[in-house]
Subunit: 523 residues, 2 copies
């Protein structure tokens, strides 16, 4: 596989534009081979129209064929071998172990979605049988199932070049739902993006998918992304990135003549509450480790840690400070991300009533940064709302509450986050029921006694949460629940058996769990 | 029960404002007793804050208690007896039979939601059990269920003073989900609204619900509604009404600091496709009946009928014209609705390439109107997009397609609608697979051989559809699926058994259908 630097418009390649860019190794600043061409809005239009033309065929293929497509994508990604891993390392300077693990996660995700598609019950089939003799009016035969929305636009994330990028969770769930996908490659890893895009196209060809089921376009600025969002044939958006980027897309999607749903995961600060028994050196070590994973560039990075004002809390903060001083965060994914991080750190340094407790060592890479531990009081935190904002990187803010009432008040003052974590004993958790009750309203995932980094891909995961964590708190972007984001219910009334989709035919030919006259059964 | 004309702010009554209004009998223009006071934004704030304070308690009551509350609302509505029916007749001039039927539907809806709440599986409980020995990382115990969003604002509809108003489908589904409700009464039936509001409050008291679980405010203009939408404690909106009203609420909700979901059902034109065998006098009689139900003031009213250009189609149009000429539509729900209808009819009369085929008789009531049959060709319909817009009332537009290709093209050109209907034989339906395939993308409900009016309240109903039919095509506002609009998934990771909600505890104490390690079972 070679990298062309062109848009992948279905099976065709196109580079009509005159704006070019190169990827850079973030650890060295070195420009990497291949000149990428930004997509013209015409090329975006071609990709979307091809997706639209592929939709009826792709929507109607069998579950087995669609599952096989997803599994073949996983195989083709693996078949890229070192070509993919080498390029990803150059573009992100993430270590090989991390990228190999992330590749495994990406493939696992595709295979899990294939399993869900093959099993088929995710369409939530419901049948209400006719009652022709009902008084005063007969009841018609009514059946419901979920159908795919249509072409979906997806924005790859910077910080997971594989698992939340071109063939990541958003693409896997949209393809699983039956939606063709147009991906905007993240400009920080365009070569990795093209290689994965080629793998998807190879899988599409091998499994006879319609041309247009997948396209990939490049762009560094906002224009290419907005061209996708504004195209009338696009029916939903999947996005992982910043609050600013996600909110701009959300606003553009709502300003369309036909507004469309935007599933934007925009990160969060993931408050961690430490109850007294958890104020230990062991927790501090674990916290420091979680904070520095991926140089803090995870949306579940623990950016706030809340304790009481005890002596033990002081000891914990000292231990955490010592751990952070001893750490050497690597380099960040780009100069821009580094600058944003440093601006965030600077704002905390300048903030009233916020003290710097510890600063880490700094590595000798181009975009290396220091980790930071800041500290403040709950009253100050609640007064200065910007202290709650995400600083994307290895910085965390310790917040000290003077009483359990103040702790609850602080929790109640929080905005939406992806996660909240509580460390303590089961007894302490019981004593803090009120805290749990408040935090339920703030997040998509409540964690007890483990750190928020590490998001399991499974049926029960919720990677989501109230705004500003996401624009769609009723959904998840990780786990099999993510499929439903790209589907909607359709109901058939009075249709003859032979005209119904298999999922809602009599005799249950697909062997699904279905709701029949109010009972969930596998009939 | 007497009507006070005041806001019902939980158990308190309030009328601090200085703007007053009266309801009018639409058939006579007569002003009806009781002066209603518009809510001040302070009063709206009190209602929402009381809802917010009631939320933690209401959220945490047992399924049985919540089901009993819903059933008791139904009982209390019935207990209002003739007081309710008489006032509703005065305010709407709808016939007693219709209102009695609608009351039954409203009560049936509440009882169906009670059944769903009592059974409990709607929360979609999912459990992934821990795998402490998994390599390379242990898998945590992760569990998911749906939780209520918080206080919900609901806007009653003009055209269903009971079933889509104060205790209608939106309120029933929000209360079922566990959300307190603040209703803005529709100003065309404020007395009916207050009576039903009193019934809800009586039920809340009898079943020991927290004060604030329900409030009702009055307002004729947009201010009271916008005060609800903009209040930071409101977490979702349910709305049934016009495109203009729904879109304004949608835009206001998205402009909030925290955008919130808006489930606005904004009506549609419900195209009816007649295949050759259905071009009969019988279909014409049925169509005319459906068109005139509720004086055409149903969101599923058949506003467009599409045929081929055959001789039989001409005969059908003649029969339909004769039927319409013989009909005498009653009076509309208000002078404003009548004026809007007449403006819509006037626009069709003035439209190029549109002919008036028939006009009905006119009754001798104040707001009586004529029914209309217009006719045009597919090419004109596709050129002049305004011909697709809803004319709320007993007018319909016949569209003639010159070929089956043009029929498909016309279907593909349609905007989103609540329903599309096909009449014909099973063989004709099979021959028109391409039409079905196109219409799937346009609507929430596809109907074969019956008219779109009459929306069954059941598990498989979808009363929804792509924009502009609704602002939330992934939901339904009728049927038990409506509950999910007011809930979101929350996931618990690593929680001890005693700290988990009952729905996701080991041993399945609530007896739910749950997904355990990927299998849907009642464990």
């Amino acid at each position: 596989m070679t990298i062309s630097g062109k848009q992948l418009i279905g099976e065709a390649r196109s580079a009509e534009g005159s704006i070019h860019f190169q990827a850079r190794n973030p650890a060295t600043g070195e420009a990497l081979p291949v000149l990428f061409t930004e997509a013209l809005s015409d090329e975006v239009g071609q990709a979307v129209c091809l997706a639209e033309s592929a939709f009826p065929a792709y929507r109607d293929i069998s579950n087995e064929a669609r599952a096989l497509f997803l599994e073949t994508i996983a195989d083709e990604i693996l078949a890229l071998g070192d070509t993919l891993l080498d390029r990803a390392m150059e573009e992100t300077s993430l270590p090989l172990g991390r990228l190999t693990g992330e590749r495994g996660r990406t493939m696992g995700q595709l295979k899990l979605f294939a399993k869900v598609v093959r099993e088929g019950s995710w369409v939530d089939a419901r049948i209400d049988t006719a009652q022709p003799d009902r008084q005063p009016f007969p009841k018609a035969d009514i059946r419901q199932m979920h159908i795919p929305l249509g072409p979906v636009g997806i924005f790859g994330a910077s910080n997971f070049p594989l698992a939340f990028s071109v063939a990541g969770g958003d693409t896997a769930s949209a393809l699983a739902a039956g939606c063709p996908v147009v991906v905007k490659a993240h400009p920080l890893h365009p070569g990795t993006s093209e290689l994965v895009g080629q793998a998807i196209l190879a899988a599409a060809k091998k499994t006879n998918m319609p041309n247009g089921v997948f396209s990939l376009v490049h762009g560094r600025g906002v224009d290419v992304g907005l061209a996708i969002v504004k195209h009338p044939a696009i029916q939903a958006i999947g996005f992982t990135g910043s609050l600013r980027g996600g909110k701009a897309i959300f606003d553009a999607a709502n300003a369309r003549q036909q507004p469309i749903p935007v599933f934007a995961e925009m990160g969060s600060t993931n408050p961690v509450f430490l109850l007294p028994s958890a104020l230990t050196a062991e927790t501090a070590a674990g916290f420091c480790n979680s904070l520095n994973l991926g140089v803090g560039q995870f949306c579940t990075n623990p950016g706030i840690v809340i304790t009481d004002n005890s002596q033990q809390a002081e000891h914990f903060v000292e231990s955490l400070g010592t751990a952070i001083k001893g750490a050497t965060p690597g380099n960040m994914l780009s100069e821009g991300i580094k600058q944003n991080y440093e601006a965030g750190v600077e704002a905390l340094q300048q903030a009233e009533q916020v003290a710097v407790k510890a600063t880490s060592q700094i590595a000798e890479h181009k975009n290396a940064v220091s980790g930071y531990l800041f500290s403040t009081q709950a009253a100050a935190f609640m007064t200065h709302r910007h202290l709650e904002e995400e600083v994307f990187g290895p910085a965390t803010l310790h917040v000290r509450a003077d009483s359990s009432e103040e702790l609850i008040k602080l929790a109640a003052s929080l905005d939406g986050h992806l996660t909240a974590t509580i460390f303590g004993t089961a007894e302490e958790l019981k004593e803090n029921e009120a805290l749990v009750s408040v935090l339920q309203r703030k997040v998509g995932r409540l964690i007890f006694n483990s750190f928020p980094t590490g998001v399991e891909v499974c049926d029960s995961m919720v990677h989501g949460g109230p705004f500003p964590a996401t624009t769609a708190s009723q959904s998840t972007s990780v786990g099999t629940g993510a499929i439903k984001r790209f589907a909607r219910p359709l109901c058939y009334q009075g249709f003859p058996q032979e005209a119904l989709p298999a999922a809602i035919k009599d005799g249950n030919p697909l062997g699904l769990h279905r709701m029949i006259d109010g009972e969930i059964i596998k009939d």
